[in-house]
């Protein structure tokens, strides 16, 4: 069974007709997830830069948390990027959010 979007399917980006579907069509969920992962990476970087300025043992706990977070978000981000190779979802409802 092919999950490829076909002409006339309920695409969220208004792609249809004879045009070739855009890469982004039906990938709203995946892109939102990747955006959230990247946002977290940026947040962790900001936190680690602030924590580094702290003296002594007080910085260990947030540092440990941030490095654990980096590890997990790294694995997740790789997974989410690999998932982009999958055919897009034709029933993506992302457009209802905004």
């Amino acid at each position: 069974m092919s999950a490829e979007p076909t002409k006339g399917d309920d695409m969220d980006d208004g792609v249809g007709g004879d045009e070739k579907p855009s890469f982004f069509a039906g990938r709203g969920d995946q892109l939102e997830e990747i955006a959230l992962d990247v946002g977290l990476v940026i947040l962790f970087v900001v936190v680690i830069r602030n924590v580094r300025t702290l003296p002594d043992i007080a910085q260990w706990f947030p540092e440990f948390t941030v490095y654990t977070g980096f590890l997990i978000v790294g694995v997740k981000l790789i997974g989410d990027l690999l998932a982009l190779r999958r055919p897009p979802k034709v029933t993506d409802k992302s457009s209802r959010f905004l």
Binding site: L54, D56, P62, T65, G69, I72, G79, K93, L98
Partner: protein
């Protein structure tokens, strides 16, 4: 003997008028939030959290435990009569309860569910007390390094088990730990991650985090989705007694479902929905003559409902004895205990702590009895309330949220922070990331850091070589590794899986009022209403700005008649006046007057 003495003292504390009234208030709010689909127990607890400042610990425990204990009792009404789960825990009840209601046996199903809930709740309370002598030696032998590892395991387990995205759950827990690290470091002058926002130097209040993570996303979601309600009044006629007889006839099923739920409740992160579904499946497998299961068999109602309420007793074991919550409502309870100066953990099995632990157990039992009596006595009226659209309550609840956040330090910064955490909560909600791990990690964050500090100060790094710590570290590693492996497997499987919409509702049947009445306005649209509320309060202060916003919302969005709006405004004025004059609280003033 010590247990009996403590039990007697606990009963005396619970019998004071103040504690008793707080328990009843908790039962009332818990029933209301359970009754209205979309408003969970966590939201109810969040709304009452600001009112426990300065209250006696026994009263605060009675109120918060009262909400927790009965939330799963009243959610049965909508599940059985309308086929709409009042909360996730009542999903399994629909399977047989709703078919029974459709063939005219709604009252019997309700009677069985309510009485089963009460018996389950009482068994849960007995289980909590019975576990005290068993857990006591273990708890007392634990020192800071072991407690540190247990807390980390608790946070990681909740992260992996809650929701369907283990990695997202773990990340959510990391975010919670970072939020908890904002403010002063334990036993040290350093300030974490505060940059130059001086307001954050004292740390972030649990009230603002709970409101932002739970109340705001749930309320906006209620507005956005407009949860469907049934038309008419599903009148309850007779048959309740027959339901009670059914429970008596199936007492062994009730007992086993309750004991199973207590054991499952002890494990952090297992949701009420998962436990009640497994109880349902267990009943279907173990009972004789199961051909009617799914078509209206009363045993399919009794098993999940008795299980739901018994689970609360099990959930209280790690919260009260180890200080490790396993769910969002457990984290709010723990946050509430910290607010009134009670520190759960080893202190709870001795002296005054033991008395409070027994107050908790008695509160669970009494709350269940009160809730069942109220539900059975006023079944017909409560059934009518269950047909109310929860969207109508949203404006009033949003005003309470703003007021509650303001009480933290009566500064505008409270509301800014509420807005920031509310946006974060919405994003997590939208993406299906579990919020419970974040809340639990936030509540435990400062405790985890304090235990780390104490362990290092007392034992330097030698505590890492201790056998018990090593075993716990291996368990922690396995939990995190398990979460990562499960996520990787999910990703691989989903790549090969045929197209399906993961967000489709898995529940069976919902009776919709009118398809056209379900609005699909965007989240941003509803968020704009919330921003509008803050703007009005900023410009005109809470009394006037809130009233104008309320009137505009009720007229424009809810399409209320002007008389209803007038009544709502009179109620708002009366509540605001009472809060200022009787409680002595402050309402948000306009931004220019700060």
């Amino acid at each position: 003997v010590e247990l009996l003495d403590a039990a007697w003292m606990g009963l005396q504390q619970l019998a004071t008028p103040q504690t008793f009234l707080f328990l009843l208030a908790g039962v009332g709010v818990g029933m209301l939030t359970g009754l209205l689909p979309g408003l969970g127990g966590a939201v109810g607890m969040a709304l009452l959290l600001p009112f426990i400042y300065g209250v006696e610990p026994a009263s605060a425990i009675a109120m918060l435990v009262g909400i927790m204990a009965v939330n799963n009792t009243s959610d049965t009404f909508t599940a059985i009569l309308l086929g709409v789960p009042g909360s996730n825990s009542s999903q399994a009840t629909i399977m047989d309860g709703y078919p029974m209601a459709r063939r005219g046996e709604g009252a019997r199903a309700l009677g069985a569910a309510l009485f089963g809930s009460m018996v389950g709740g009482i068994i849960g309370a007995i289980g909590l007390v019975a576990l005290i002598p068993i857990a006591e030696p273990m708890i007392l032998s634990l020192e800071s390094p072991e407690l540190l590892m247990l807390m980390l395991i608790g946070v990681a387990t909740v992260g992996v088990l809650s929701g369907s995205k283990p990695l997202a759950g773990l990340l959510s827990a990391c975010l919670g730990l970072l939020l908890g690290a904002v403010g002063p470091a334990p036993a040290g002058p350093a300030r974490f991650i505060v940059h130059d926002w001086t307001y954050l130097r004292q740390g972030i209040s649990v009230v603002v985090v709970v409101m932002g993570l739970y109340a705001i996303p749930e309320l906006i979601n209620l507005l956005k989705d407009r949860i469907p309600v049934a038309r008419g009044n599903p009148l309850v006629k007779g048959g309740l007694v027959q339901g009670i007889r059914d429970v008596w006839r199936n007492k062994i099923l009730v007992f086993f479902a309750s004991v199973y739920a207590i054991c499952a409740g002890v494990i952090p992160g297992l949701s009420g929905a998962a436990v009640s579904w497994t109880a349902y499946a267990g009943a279907k497998t173990l009972c004789r003559d199961t051909k009617n299961f799914g078509k209206g068999d009363v045993r399919g109602v009794i098993a999940p409902d008795s299980c739901n309420n018994a689970m609360e007793g099990g959930q209280l074991v790690p919260i009260m004895m180890f200080g490790i919550p396993g769910s969002a409502s457990g984290a709010i309870l723990l946050g509430g205990l910290f607010l009134v100066g009670v520190e759960p953990g080893p202190k709870m099995v001795q002296g005054d702590g033991l008395v409070l632990l027994l107050v908790t157990a008695f509160s669970v039992a009494l709350a269940n009895i009160f809730a069942t009596a109220l539900c059975m006595g006023g079944a017909s009226w409560i059934a009518r309330i269950s047909t109310l659209s929860p969207g109508r309550l949203v404006p009033g609840i949003l005003l309470i949220v703003v007021f509650a956040a303001w009480q933290v330090s009566t500064q505008w910064d409270d509301l800014y922070l509420l807005l920031i955490i509310g946006v974060l909560g919405m994003i997590l909600y939208r993406r299906g990331w579990p919020r419970a791990p974040m809340l639990i990690a936030f509540v435990l964050g400062s405790k985890i850091e304090a235990k780390l500090r104490i362990s290092i100060d007392r034992y330097e790094w030698t505590w890492l070589h201790d056998t018990r710590v090593l075993v716990l570290a291996v368990v922690l590693g396995l939990v995190i590794l398990g979460g990562i492996l499960v996520s990787i497997r999910e990703m691989r499987e989903s790549r090969n899986r045929p197209e399906s919409d993961e967000r489709e509702d898995a529940l069976p049947t919902f009776e919709l009022e009118k398809e056209s009445e379900l609005r699909e306005a965007s989240v941003l649209y509803w968020f704009a209403w919330f921003l509008g509320l803050l703007l009005m309060v900023a410009l005109l202060g809470m009394p006037l700005g809130g009233a104008i916003w309320l009137a505009a919302f009720l007229l424009y969005e809810v399409h209320c008649h002007w008389r209803v709006v007038l009544l709502y405004l009179i109620g708002y004025a009366a509540v605001s006046w009472s809060v200022v004059h009787f409680i002595g609280a402050e309402l948000p003033t306009n931004w220019f007057a700060r």
